[in-house]
Amino acid sequence: MKKQTLRVLTAAVLAGALVTGASACGQKNNPAAERTLSYRSIWSADEPQAKILKSALEDFAQQEGVKVDVKFVGRTGGDALNTEMAAGQGPDLFDAGSDNLPAWRAQNLAAPVDDVLKMAVPGENGKTVGDLIPASLQKAASDDKGLGFLPHTAISTAVWFDAAKHPELASKPPQSWDEFVAYLDKAKAAGRTPICQDGTVPFYNVYWLYSALVNAGGSNSLLDLQKTSDAWDKPEVLNAAKKVEQLAKGGYFQPNFIATKYPAAQNDWVQGKCDLNINGTWLASEVASTTPSGAQIRSFQLPAGGKDSVEAGALGLGVNAKGKNAEDAKKFLAFFEQSKYQKRIADEARNIPARSDVPAPKSLSDAQKALADAKDVHLTYDTAAGNKAWWNDMFLPLDDQLLQGKVTAEQFVQQGKQKSAQIMAGQK
C-alpha cells in the first residue's frame, strides 16, 4: 500500500509540476504595445445578444483605444472554460448568471465587481451603475463574497398566455391558487388543453413545485431542503407538493407531455394549441419565429399566496479573477449599461433589461412590473441547483414522478426527506 501511495503521489506531483511549470511559462511577458480585452461568449454568433455585445465591444474599442478579442462559441463553449480560466488562459470577460455563480466562485474565478457599482455610466449625467441597477438584481448577482458579476438582463419565471386568445387572463389574472385551478378546470371543460409542458426537460417540470413553494415561502424555502432534513417537515413543503399533485391528477397537461421533446410544447403553446406554459422570461424570444401574427404574449406570476415572492435572477458578464486585463473589463461592464444597449436587449433580444428605467418589450411588461413591485424576491431556483448530486440526481427525478402522478404528495415529502439525509451524510 505504501509503495503504491508513493507512486501515485509521485505521479500526481509530476503531473502537477508539469502543469504549473507550463502555465508559469505562460506568464512570461510578451511586450504588448496595446491593451487587449478578451471575451469568450456562450452565445452563438447569430443570436441577438451576441450581435449586441459585438457592437458594444466595437464601440468600446474605438472609444478607449483597446484591442478587443471576442469569440462567440455557443452553448458548448462553457464546458472547458472554467479549467482554462483557472489555468490562467481564460478571457477577461465571461458570461455569468445567478445559477452558475456558485460554480465560478468555487474555483475563485469571479473577480469581485463591487467597485463597478461606483463607476459612472457614460452619457448618463454622472449616474453610477449602482444607481441604475435595482437592488433586487444586485442581490441576484451577489453572494456572501459580494457582487460576483454585473447583470445586463433580468430573468424571471412566470406563467405565459396569449392575450389575444385569452383577454380575461390579461385583465384579471388568477389571484389565488384556487382561482388558478378553477381556470384550468374551465379550460378543460371547454375542450381545450390547459397547459403545454415540455416534459423531457426536468428543470422546466420543476417550475411548478419551485414556484408554488418559493413564491409562497420566499428565499431559502427550497434551499433549506438540501441543508437539513427537518426542513422537509414544514407544512409549507407538503402544501406545495399537494398543489403539484393537484395539477398531476387534474389531467391539465397535453397527452404524453412527459415524452415531449423540447421545444415542441412551447411551440405548440404559442400556436394556440394550449392556453398556458410555465417558463422563463426568455420564452417570447425563443418562440419568436413560430409566433403567429397578432399574438400578444403576456404573463402572470403563479399565485401561491404567502409572501408572493418573485424570482429575480440575473444574467450578465463576469470579470475573470485570473484574467490579464481586469481594468478594461470593468470599464466595459459600466460601458455596457448605457441605455442604447439596454434598449437593444429589450427590443432585439426580447429580454428584460437590467436597468429599471428601460422598458421591457410588451410581452415582458407584466414580468418587469412584477419584479419592480415585488415585496419579496428570491434567486433562480433559490440557488438550490448548485448541488448537483441533490438537484440532478435526486430532486428533479423525484419531482418528475410527482408531476406524473406516480408518487403522492406525502410520498414525495417522505422520500425527499430520506434521500436528502442520505446525500447530506455522504457529502460531509
Partner: protein, 320 residues
C-alpha cells in the same frame, strides 16, 4: 478464389504451429528495430494517456472542483457515496443492461444474417446499406430524433394512419428502450460486415458437401460457419464490450439533444452520469466523483473483457 484460400490459411495464428522446438530462430533485424518501431506509439500513449489516467485515479480520492480550487483528500468516500447514489446505481445497471441486452440482439441479428446472407442475391447491397448507420454521427441522429419520436412526430403520425394512439416514445420510462433500439440500429451493421468477411474465408466446398448431405441453412450455419468464424467473433465481442460500456453520445441525442439539460435517471449510462459531474453547467463540478466513476467503469470493462474471453475461448478449429 485462390486468394480466399490463402487468407483462410492465414487465419490460423502463428502459435498454433508445431512445438517450440521447431520454432524459427530469432530474426535479428526485427529485434534490432523493436524499440525504434515501438517508440513513438509507446511514448505518446504513456505520456498522454497513461499518466493522465493515473492522475484521474488520484483525483478520485479527492474532492475537487477544478484547477484553482481547493483539493481535499477524501479517501474512499467518493466511492462510498457513489454506492449510495441512486442515480449512479441506476446508470450502472443501465450500462450493464445496455451492454448485455443490446449485445445479444446485435449478435443475434448478426448470426441470423450470416445464416441467410451467405448465398443471397443482393447480399452485398444489403451488407452495404445496413452498414450506413455505423457512419452516421449520433449527433445527427439526436437532432432529428425529436422530430421523429415526439408525440406528434412523424412516427406517431404514421401510427395514426394505422389507427394506433400516439405513444410517448421519449418519456422517461420508455426512452431507454428506444436508446437500446438506437444502439442496435447503429452498431449491428459493423458486426455484420465483420462476420460476413470472416465467413467469406470459409471454402465453398465445405458447404457444397453439407448441402449434398441435406443440411439445412441453420445446420450449415451451426456446424460450419459458426465454428470457423469463431475467432473473429471472439475479437468482435471484446470490441462490443469496450464500445457499449462507453455509450454516451446516443443517450444525449435521444434525451436532451443539443439543449443543456440532464437526461432522466432511467436513461442514463455511467458515461452520462460522469460527464454531468465534470461539467460546469448546472452546478459546481465534482471531479472526484467523476474520476471515481471512471475508475469503476475501467474495472468493469476489464472484468467483462476477461469474462467474454473465457466464454469464447476454445481450441482453434483448423481446416484440415
Amino acid at each position: 478464389m485462390t486468394s480466399r484460400l490463402a487468407s483462410a490459411e492465414a487465419v490460423q495464428p502463428a502459435w498454433a504451429a508445431p512445438a517450440p522446438a521447431a520454432r524459427k530462430p530469432l530474426l535479428p533485424s526485427r529485434e534490432k528495430v523493436f524499440w525504434a518501431f515501438l517508440g513513438p506509439a509507446l511514448a505518446l500513449y504513456t505520456l498522454l494517456f497513461v499518466v493522465p489516467s493515473f492522475f484521474g485515479v488520484w483525483v478520485s480520492f479527492t474532492k475537487w472542483a477544478g484547477p484553482g480550487s481547493e483539493m481535499s483528500w477524501r479517501g474512499l468516500q467518493n466511492y462510498v457515496s457513489l454506492l449510495g447514489n441512486e442515480a449512479f446505481l441506476r446508470s450502472f445497471v443501465n450500462t450493464l443492461v445496455l451492454a448485455v441486452a443490446s449485445g445479444m440482439i446485435v449478435f443475434g441479428v448478426t448470426f441470423l444474417g450470416m445464416m441467410v446472407l451467405r448465398q443471397l442475391k443482393g447480399r452485398a447491397f444489403i451488407r452495404s446499406v445496413v452498414f450506413l448507420p455505423v457512419i452516421i454521427s449520433p449527433i445527427a441522429v439526436g437532432a432529428a430524433i425529436g422530430f421523429l419520436l415526439n408525440p406528434d412526430g412523424v412516427v406517431n403520425r404514421l401510427l395514426g394512419f394505422l389507427g394506433i394512439a400516439p405513444i410517448g416514445f421519449l418519456g422517461p420510462d420508455t426512452v431507454f428502450a428506444c436508446i437500446i433500439g438506437g444502439v442496435v440500429w447503429s452498431s449491428t451493421g459493423l458486426y455484420i460486415a465483420l462476420m460476413l468477411s470472416a465467413m467469406d474465408a470459409i471454402p465453398e466446398d465445405l458447404y457444397e458437401a453439407a448441402l449434398l448431405s441435406g443440411a439445412s441453412k441453420w445446420q450449415q450455419f451451426r456446424f460450419i460457419t459458426l465454428p470457423l468464424s469463431w475467432d473473429v467473433f471472439a475479437v468482435a465481442s471484446v470490441l462490443w464490450v469496450v464500445n457499449s460500456l462507453k455509450t454516451f453520445e446516443i443517450v444525449i441525442a435521444f434525451t436532451t439533444g443539443g439543449a443543456v439539460g440532464v437526461p432522466p435517471i432511467q436513461a442514463r449510462t455511467v458515461a452520462v452520469q460522469q460527464y454531468n459531474s465534470v461539467v460546469v453547467s448546472g452546478g459546481v463540478p465534482d471531479l472526484g466523483a467523476g474520476a471515481a466513476m471512471g475508475v469503476i467503469v475501467t474495472v468493469l470493462t476489464i472484468i467483462l473483457i476477461v469474462l467474454v474471453r473465457r466464454i469464447t475461448a476454445r481450441e482453434q478449429v483448423e481446416l484440415s
